[in-house]
Point group: D2
Chain length 345, copies 4
C-alpha cells in the first residue's frame, strides 16, 4: 500500500498546463539564455500585474537558493551585511550560500516568523561600531515566512519606510509568495509588494512549475549588469525558454499562479478545520498551506501507516506537533482520507 | 518566412522521449533534492556504463556553469589553481565563475583546442615559485573542446598519467561529451574516461534534455560532502526528479544519449561533405557537430535570408568562415535545403 | 593639560627591549618573507615553551584579524562553518572578515564571555539538517575573552575533548593570551593550550610589540601549504624579520611576554582594589587587564577631565559602568593619580 | 666570511630616521587604527605633494599584497575583471590574491614590462561577449614595472585617457614608485600620477620603511567606506601609528622617500656603468634599481663566493643573465667591491 505525502509542496511534477505548454512549444527554435519570446511574454504578463510606471527588470532562475544568491550578491559591496530573522531561510536552510558570496548575516529574533521594524532597529544599533562591524545594508524578509505566516500590507509598509529612511535595500524572498497572496490573512497585491521592496522573487517551484523563480528588480538602480551575476553564479540556463514557458503559463489569463496557491491553502484550511472539529488544537494558526496540529503520539503512529509528514516537535504529555503541507497537487480525497483516519479526541 | 537556425544545439526543447517520461511520472510523489527513485535509476544506468569497480558518486545539476563551479570549488583549497587552455570554456565563457569561487586560472595555449602534457608542464614549471604563486592543482579539459575537436584515448591517458605523477586532479567538462563519444575521431568509452579522470560531467542540455548535467565523481576521495556544495552554490533543485527523469531517459536501453549525439554529428558530416562537394573548403575538420566552411561573403549574405548561423571570422578575399551547429533536433530536410541554397563554387 | 588614556592596550609604541632589538639588527641583511634567522630564533624560543613532541609550525602576521582570517580559512572547505559565542571578536569586531572568506558563523550565547560544551552541543544539534545547513567544523574561542574572562584548564580540556569526539577543529584566538596566562584565574600553561587545541595564536600587539601575532599550528595535518594562505591574504611581510625580532624579544630569557602581561594585570588589580576600597562596586570581576567599575555619572564626568576611558553601559540611578584598560605601558603613577581623583563613595 | 646581498631591496631594516621617529614617539599615547596624529601628519605631507584640489583620501597598510587586495576589491562588483600584463605582480607573484577576492584577471602581453593602450584595447575587444565574459573594469599597472622599467608621462596620459573614455578605473601599484620617480627615465611627478589615475599606492617597504604602503584614492567616488575594506581584509593595524610615523618621516622636509630611491638608483647606475666599462652587455637598460648584466657562467660562479644575487635566465654560450638589486641601504663600498671582483671581459 502506498502512503500519501504531506511532507512538502514539491513532491509532484508540474501542473498539466505547464507540461502542455512545454510540449506545444517544443520544436519552435528560440534564442538561448532567456532571450526567447516565451520569456519575453512571461515578463510582459508579470509586468501587467505591477504598477504602470514599473521601471525594473525581471530575470528567471532555476532554484530559490540561486534567486537569493544572485539577488543579494549583485546588490552588495563586500563589506555590506544582511539583516534577517534567525529562522530565515538564508540563515538556516541554504548551507551558508550567502556567506559563501562573502556577506555577513546579522540575525535578530522573529515575531511569528516575521521581521519587525523594532528588531531591524536593534540590528542597526548593535552593528554601528564602524568600520569594525560589517555595515548593515540589506533587509531580508520572506513572505510567506518559514513558518507559513503572512505579512500584512501595513507591516510591509512599515519595513519599507524604515528601509528608505535608513538607506537600506529591502529584499523579499518569495519562495512561498503564491501561498501568501492567496492567504485569507493577506491584504497586499503583487503590485503593492513591487512598490515597497527594491527586489523580490516570485516562486514557481512551489505553485506547480517543474522549477523556476522569477526575480523582479523594482529599484532601477539595481538593474545594471544583472545578467552577468546570473551567468557567473551558474544561474543562467542555455534553454532559458524552460523558465519563460512556465511563467507564461503561470501568469496567463487563467492566473494559474494564484489558482494553484489558493487550492493549496484551501486544502490546508480544510485539514485545519477538520482537525479542530475532531477536538484537537493547532500549534499555530493556519494562514497558508502548512498545518501544525498537536496530536497524541499514538494517533500519530497510526496515521504514519497511511500518510507521510514531519513530526515537528515534542508537545509534552505524549503529544507532538506534526507538520502537514498541502500543494497545488493535493488531492482533496486524500485530505478527506486523512480526516477519516483521525479519531475524535 | 521563418529562417532555420544553425546557431547552436540548444534552440529547441527536449527529445520527445524525455517529455513523455516527464508526463508519465508527473503525479508520482517523490522525495525532493535528488533523493527520488528516478534519480537513483539514472545513476544506476550511468554506472552500468562504467567499470564494475566504480566507487564514485553521481550528482545532477541544471547548468554547465554550475557543474564546473561545484566540481572545481569542491575539490580545491583556497590557494590552489586550475590549469586550462586559454580558449577554455571556464576561461572565456563563464563570466569569471571559477574566479568568483576564489581560484586562479593558469592558462596555456591549446593545440587544436586541446590541452597537452607539454603545455601542462609549462604551466607547472612557470608556476613553481611557492608560496608567491598559486599552487597548480587541477587540470581542466573539455571533450569535445570549445572548437569541436576530440581527445583520443592516447591523449587522455597521457594527461591522466601526468596528473597522477604530479599529484594533480584531472577534471573533464563534458558539456559536449555526447558529441565527442559519437565522433568518428573518438576511440574512448565512457568507462575509459571515468577510469582516467578524477571527476567529469556528462552534458544533457546539448543532447536533448531540457536541462541537466550529470557530475560523475570517479575519485572516491572527492565524494565527501559533495551535496553541501550543490546546495551552497544554488545547484540543488527541490524537484531533483526533473534531472533524474531526463538522465534515466537518456541512458535507457535505447541509449538516447549516444543516438542523439550521433544524429547531430551525422547532420554536421552531411553538411560538411555537401559543402566540400560544392567546391568550398572547411576552415577545420568536422569531428563533431560543428562545421566551419569558408564561403564568399556574397554567398553568406544570400544564405542568411534562409538560415541563421554565426559569421565566425574573416577569411580574406571577400570570404568569411561561418559556423554551422547541428543538434539532436536538426531536421535533415533543413540540411538538404541549406545545401540546395548553396551554389556550386 | 594632557589626559592619560585607559582606553585600550595599544595606545603606545613598543617595549624598549623591542625597539633596541630592531635597532641592533637594523643593518644585518636577512632573507625576506619570514625566512630570516630572527624569525627562526623566535620560533625556537616559542617551541621551547611547548611540549617536547610538538610537531607543528609557527607563522607570524601583522594583525589579529589577519591571524583569524588565515587560521580559519586555511583549515576549512567552503561548506564548513565556525561555532562561536555571539560576542566573539570574529562575530562582532572584524567587519565580516571570516564571512568574506566564504564561511558561515554559527553563534551561541556565552557564559561569562566563554563558550561551553553545552552550547557547542546546541550549535551542533541545531545545525544538523544536512546538506541544507552548513557543516559545523571549527570551534572558535578566545582567551582571554572579549570581556576579559579566562578559561580554566578544566574548561579548555572539556571543549577539547568534545571537539575531538565530534571531529571538530579547535581554534583559539590569543589576542589577549598574555593577559590570560598572567591572570590569577589561570591554571593553564602555553604547553597545555598547545596540546589541547588544533591551532591558536599568541598576540604580540597587546603585550608590547609594535605589531605581530604568532600563529601556532599544533595539529600537523593543518601545516601543509600554510604559507600560501599567508601570501594570498596579504599577510606575508617582505621584511618578515620585523615580526621575528619582536617575538624573539618577547620570548627571551627575560620572558617579556609574561612580564608585560603581568604588569598590565597588576595595574588593573590595583585599580580594582582601590576602586572597591573607595566604596564602589565592579560590574564584573577583574581577571585580566580590564576593570569595569560602576560609578556615579557626576564622578565619571569629573574623571573625564583627567583620564580617557570608555563609558561602557548605563547602570541606572545616574550611574554608569566604565571600562579601564591597562597595559604593559601603564605608568603606576597614573593608576595612583586615578585613584587619588576618585572620591570616597 | 659574509657575503653581501644584491638579492632584493628589503634585506635590511629601516632607515635610521625612521627608527629615530619610532623611538621618539614611543610613549606618546595615540588613538588606534590610523586615527593618530602621526598618520594625520603623514597624510598632510603627502597631500602637499599633490594638486591643491585633491579631494581624495589616503590610507596605510602593511604589505603590497594587502594594498592591491583592498584597492582592487573595494572598487569592483563581483562580475568585474582586471586587465593586467601577463608579467604583472598581481598575476604571478601574489598567490592568486585578487582571484581570492572573486575577480578575474584578463592578461595581455607587455611591451618592456608595460601595459599599452593597444593591448588594453585588445583585452576589451576580446572580452566583450557579455554577459558570458566577465566585464573588464579596472586597469592594473605598476610603476616601476616588475622588470624595473618606467612609464613616461605621455604613456600614463594615454592610458588614463583611454580609461576615462571607456569608463575604466585606472589603478597603479606603486611598490616601486620611489624607484620610478627617482629614475632618469621619469618625467612624471607624484601630482601628475595622482591626477591621471583613480587610485594608486606609494610603496614604503622598498624605500627604507620597516613596512608600509600608502594607498592614495584620487577619485572621490572610490573613497566611501574604504576603512571597512581595510578592516575586513585584515589590513588595519591596531597601532596604525607605526605606519603614520614612517610615512611622516619619508615625506618630511628632507624628502627621504625620493632621497632613498635616488641612492638605490645611483648605486644601480654605477654597477651598470662599471659592468659595461668592463666589456659586458646588459640584458636590458637600467632605469631604476635593477641591473641585468650578461656574464659568463664561470665569472658568475666566482662572484657568488662574495655576493648573493639571482641568476635570472640562461643567455646561451655558457653565459647567464643575473639580477642585481640595489636599495636605500646599499653601501657604495660593496658596489666598488663587486666591480673590483669583476674581471675585464
Amino acid at each position: 500500500m502506498t502512503t500519501f505525502s504531506f511532507l512538502d509542496d514539491y513532491s509532484e511534477g508540474a501542473h498539466l498546463d505547464i507540461l502542455s505548454a512545454l510540449t506545444e512549444s517544443n520544436y519552435v527554435q528560440q534564442a538561448p539564455y532567456g532571450e526567447d519570446t516565451y520569456t519575453a511574454a512571461a515578463t510582459s504578463r508579470i509586468k501587467a500585474r505591477l504598477a504602470a510606471n514599473f521601471d525594473g527588470a525581471i530575470h528567471y532562475v532555476a532554484s530559490g537558493t540561486m534567486a537569493n544568491i544572485v539577488s543579494i550578491s549583485s546588490c552588495l559591496r563586500p563589506h555590506e551585511a544582511v539583516i534577517a530573522v534567525s529562522s530565515g531561510h538564508i540563515v538556516v536552510r541554504e548551507a551558508g550560500a550567502i556567506e559563501a558570496t562573502g556577506h555577513k548575516l546579522i540575525t535578530v529574533p522573529s515575531v511569528d516568523g516575521k521581521l519587525t521594524p523594532e528588531n531591524i532597529k536593534v540590528a542597526l544599533s548593535s552593528n554601528a561600531h564602524f568600520p569594525h562591524m560589517a555595515k548593515p545594508r540589506l533587509i531580508y524578509i520572506s513572505n510567506a515566512t518559514e513558518t507559513g505566516t503572512v505579512y500584512t500590507l501595513a507591516e510591509l509598509r512599515a519595513i519599507s519606510a524604515l528601509a528608505k529612511q535608513r538607506g537600506l535595500i529591502l529584499f523579499l524572498d518569495g519562495a512561498r509568495l503564491g501561498a501568501a497572496l492567496a492567504s485569507s490573512k493577506n491584504d497586499a497585491t503583487l503590485a503593492d509588494i513591487a512598490s515597497l521592496v527594491d527586489i523580490f522573487w516570485i516562486g514557481g517551484t512551489k505553485v506547480g512549475a517543474l522549477l523556476g523563480e522569477a526575480i523582479v528588480i523594482c529599484n532601477p538602480a539595481l538593474k545594471d549588469d544583472f545578467a552577468f551575476h546570473l551567468k557567473q553564479r551558474g544561474g543562467m540556463l542555455a534553454k532559458g525558454r524552460l523558465l519563460g514557458i512556465q511563467f507564461q503559463a503561470l501568469f496567463g489569463t487563467r492566473n494559474l499562479f494564484l489558482e494553484n496557491a489558493k487550492h493549496a491553502n484551501a486544502m490546508a484550511a480544510k485539514l485545519a478545520a477538520g482537525i479542530v472539529a475532531r477536538g484537537y488544537t493547532l500549534d499555530s494558526e493556519t494562514a497558508t498551506n502548512q498545518v501544525f496540529p498537536v496530536l497524541p503520539d499514538s494517533v500519530i503512529s497510526t496515521l504514519q501507516s497511511y500518510f507521510s509528514f514531519y513530526v515537528w516537535s515534542n508537545a509534552g504529555n505524549d503529544r507532538s506537533v506534526i507538520r502537514l503541507v498541502t500543494s497545488w497537487a493535493t488531492n482533496e480525497n486524500q485530505v478527506d482520507a486523512f480526516l477519516a483516519r483521525l479519531p475524535q479526541h
